[in-house]
Symmetry: none
Amino acid sequence: MAARRPPETPPEAHAATRQALLAAAADVFAECGFRNATIRDICRRAGANVAAINYHFGDKAGLYSEVLAEQSRVVRERFPARPAGAESLSPEQQLAAFVRTFLQRVLSPDMHARHGRIMTREMVDPTDALDRLVKEAIRPDAERLMAILRAMLGPDLPASAIRLCGMSVVGQILFYCHCQPVIRRLFPDLPADASRLDELAEHVTRFSLAALKHYGTAPSARRPSRKSSSPNPA
Amino acid sequence: MAARRPPETPPEAHAATRQALLAAAADVFAECGFRNATIRDICRRAGANVAAINYHFGDKAGLYSEVLAEQSRVVRERFPARPAGAESLSPEQQLAAFVRTFLQRVLSPDMHARHGRIMTREMVDPTDALDRLVKEAIRPDAERLMAILRAMLGPDLPASAIRLCGMSVVGQILFYCHCQPVIRRLFPDLPADASRLDELAEHVTRFSLAALKHYGTAPSARRPSRKSSSPNPA
Amino acid sequence: MAARRPPETPPEAHAATRQALLAAAADVFAECGFRNATIRDICRRAGANVAAINYHFGDKAGLYSEVLAEQSRVVRERFPARPAGAESLSPEQQLAAFVRTFLQRVLSPDMHARHGRIMTREMVDPTDALDRLVKEAIRPDAERLMAILRAMLGPDLPASAIRLCGMSVVGQILFYCHCQPVIRRLFPDLPADASRLDELAEHVTRFSLAALKHYGTAPSARRPSRKSSSPNPA
Amino acid sequence: MAARRPPETPPEAHAATRQALLAAAADVFAECGFRNATIRDICRRAGANVAAINYHFGDKAGLYSEVLAEQSRVVRERFPARPAGAESLSPEQQLAAFVRTFLQRVLSPDMHARHGRIMTREMVDPTDALDRLVKEAIRPDAERLMAILRAMLGPDLPASAIRLCGMSVVGQILFYCHCQPVIRRLFPDLPADASRLDELAEHVTRFSLAALKHYGTAPSARRPSRKSSSPNPA
DNA sequence: AATGAATGAGCCTTCATTCAT
DNA sequence: GATGAATGAAGGCTCATTCAT
C-alpha cells in the first residue's frame, strides 16, 4: 500500500554524523579531559543523540581513542617531523625545524591548540590509549630528535646523555603547553600561545643550540660544595 | 558552606583526624586531581566518615585548598628556594642549587612526589586555588630564578629574554614531572623519578649553564631558509 | 540544569511516564510541600527512576513548577471563575457562584484536595513559583471578586474597603482549607472537607451576603471604649 | 593541692542557655517551620553547642514542643481571650474585643508575629504537639467565641450554624496571617501586618457584626438556578 | 541504521543524633 | 553538667550506559 520511502538517513549521513561527533569530541576532550568531558556535551555540540556515541564508537573510551588517533594523524600530516628535503639540512637547521614543528603541533591556533591540550591531559591522566600513541607516534618523533642530537653531539656521548638532552629540548617546548595557566598569571603580557610562536621557537632553538654546542665540554657542576672557593665553570 | 572555625581548645583527637584527612587527601588529589577525587575515597583511607570533611573543612574545595597550602608550606620548608648561605655562592652555584631544589620538590620520593603531581594537575585543570598559589608561592620562586639569571646574563639582556631563559630552565625540570607516564613508556630503564634525581639535576644544570653562558652571543637561527648555504652557527 | 526541550515526536511512553510523574508529584507535593517532598518518593510512586525527573523536568524545581501550572490549569478549567452565562446573573448570584467555585477548587474530593493543599503550602513557604502564580491565576480571580463586590456595594465605597471585603470572603473559604487539621480535632463530626461542600458554600455565601448588604451602613465599632454605654450597632 | 575552683558554669548558666535556646528556636521555627529548621541554626543563634539541644530538651521535637507551649502561654497571658471586665460588655463589644485580641496574637509585632507564623505552620504540617495545643489552648478559645455568638444569635440557631459562623469570623482573621505572601504581592500598598492592625480589626468586626445581625433572616441562596430571574436576597 | 526514553550507580552535601570525654 | 568530635542516613543531582523500538 504505502509507497516505499527512501531511507530517511542517506549513507552520507552516517559519515557526516560521525565526523561531527569526532570534531565536537576533539573540542570537548581538549577543554575538559577524558573523564570530565560528558558525552551529552559532545552530542549537543554535534547535534546528535546521546546514543549516537554508543552506536558509532561503542562507548566513550572508543570515541576518545578515535579522536586521539585522528588528532595524531592530522597533526603529523600537517606538521611532519621529517619534512621533504630535511636530509640536506645541517643538524642545527634540523633541530630548529624540529623545535618549530613541535611548537606548532601543540600550540597551533588553527586547530585551537587542541592537540597540545589533549596530549597534555593524556600525559597527566593516562588512559589505555597512551600505549598505542607512544608506540605509533611519540617514539618515532623521539628517535628522530635523538638522531639529530647524535649528529650534533658526536658518537662518543653515551646514549643516556643524548636522551637527557632530548628531554631538555622537548621539556622547554612542552612547558608552554603544560603551564599556560601559570604563564598567563605570571606574565599576562606574554601570551605563551601561538601569537608569539615564532618568538618562542627562536628562543628554544637558540637556547638549545648554545647548550648542545658546549654540553660536552662543560664541567659537571655536581653538588657545589659550599666551602669550595669557586667551582663555577671558568 | 563555610568551613568551621578552628576550635578554641583543640584536643588531640581533632588534630589527629584532621591530619589523617589531610594526608589521605594529599594522596588522592595527587592521584586523581581535584574533580575526580572523591571524598568517599579520601575518608575511607583516613578511616573517617564522609561528614568529617564537612566538619573539618567545610567542603571538598575547602579540603583541597588546605591540602594545597599545606603541601606548599611543607615543601618550601623542606626544600627552601634560598637556603642559608646562598648569598655567598656564585650565580652558577645558585642556579645549580635552584635546579636541584626544584627537582626535589616535585619528585621527592619521601612525599611520594605528591607535590609535583598536585601542581601538575593544578596547571592542567586550574581551580580557584591557583591564583593564590601563583601569588604566594610560584611568583616568588620565579623572581628568585630570574634574579639568578640576571646575575649571569648581565644587565643588557632584555627582561623578556630573561623570562624565556627562566622558562627554559623550569621547563626542563617540570618535564620529568609532567611527562612521567610517557618517559616510563619510552625509556623503561630510565626511571625519571627520584632514584636518579641527582643525575637529572646535574644534567639540567649542565645543559642550562652551557646554554646561558653562550646564549647572548649565539646567532638567532631564525627560520633557516632551506636554500641558504649554511646558516648554522659557526 | 535546563529542562530538556519537549521532544519533536513524543511517543506514548514519553507522555505516559511524564504524566505518571506529574500525578505522583502532585500527591507528594500536596502532602509534604516542595522542600520536604523527595524526588525518590515521587519516583517510587510513579514507578520511575530518580533520573527521570532530571530527564523530563530538569530538576525538582522544574517538576514543581510544572505541577503547579498543571494544577492551576486543570482546576480553572474544571471550575471556571466566570462560567458561561455569568453575565446574566445578579451580583448576589455571581458571588454565590464564586464562593462555591472557590470552595470546589480547594476542597474538590475528586482531586483529593490537592490544589488547595499545594496552594496552602505555597502561601506558607513561598517558592519562586508564587510570583508567576499570583500574576497569572490569583490576581485575575481577585479582580473578578472585587468587581462583583463593587457591583454590590456601589461606587462610593473606597477601593480599600472593597479589598478588605474581598479578603473577608476569601478568608472564610480558605479557612476550611488551611485549618483542616484543627477543624478535624475540634469538631470531629464536621468533616470540613468536600462531603459537606454544599453546606459550607451555602453558609459562606449567606454570611457574606448578609454582611455586604449592611456593611456600608454599619457603625465602625472602633475600639469599643469600655466605659461607653452601648457602642454596639443599634 | 589545687584550690577548689567554683564550677565554670554556675547554676544560672543552665537556665540562661535554656532560655537562649528557646528564644532562638522560636525565631527559627517561625521562619522555617519545624522540619526545615535546623538545630545548628538555632544553636548558632543561641551561642550554644549543637549537643545542647539534646541535653536540654532530649531532641528537636522536644525543643519544638517546649517552644509551642511557651509561645501559647505567653501569648495568652499577654492577650487574654477573656480580659477582666469582659462580662459587663455587650456581646457585640465582646466580639470586637475577641477579634482584636486574636489579630494581635497572630500579628503582634512585638513578638515578630512569631506565634501566628508558628501556628500557621502547625496547621499546615501538624506535629504531635497539635493535639495538646488544641485541647489546652484552641478549644477554650473556640468555645469562648461560640458563647459570644450564641449570645448574639439567640438560642434557636442550631449549634452547627454557630460553629460555621465562628469559623467565618476566625477565617477572616487568620487570612491575614496565612496568606501574607500573597497579600503582599497582590496589594503591595496594604501591608497586612501589624502596622494596620487596628484597621483590620475594625473591618473584620464590622463585617462580622453586619453578617451576624442579619444571618438568621437571610435567604439560603442555595444553588442559584441559572434560569431563575432574580433569586438575590431582596 | 539510529534514537528517544529510561536506568542504576555514584557524586557532594546536609542533617539530627550520639559518643567520649 | 556540658561540649567538641564524629556518625550514618538521606537528599538532590549527574553521568555513561542500555533498552525498545
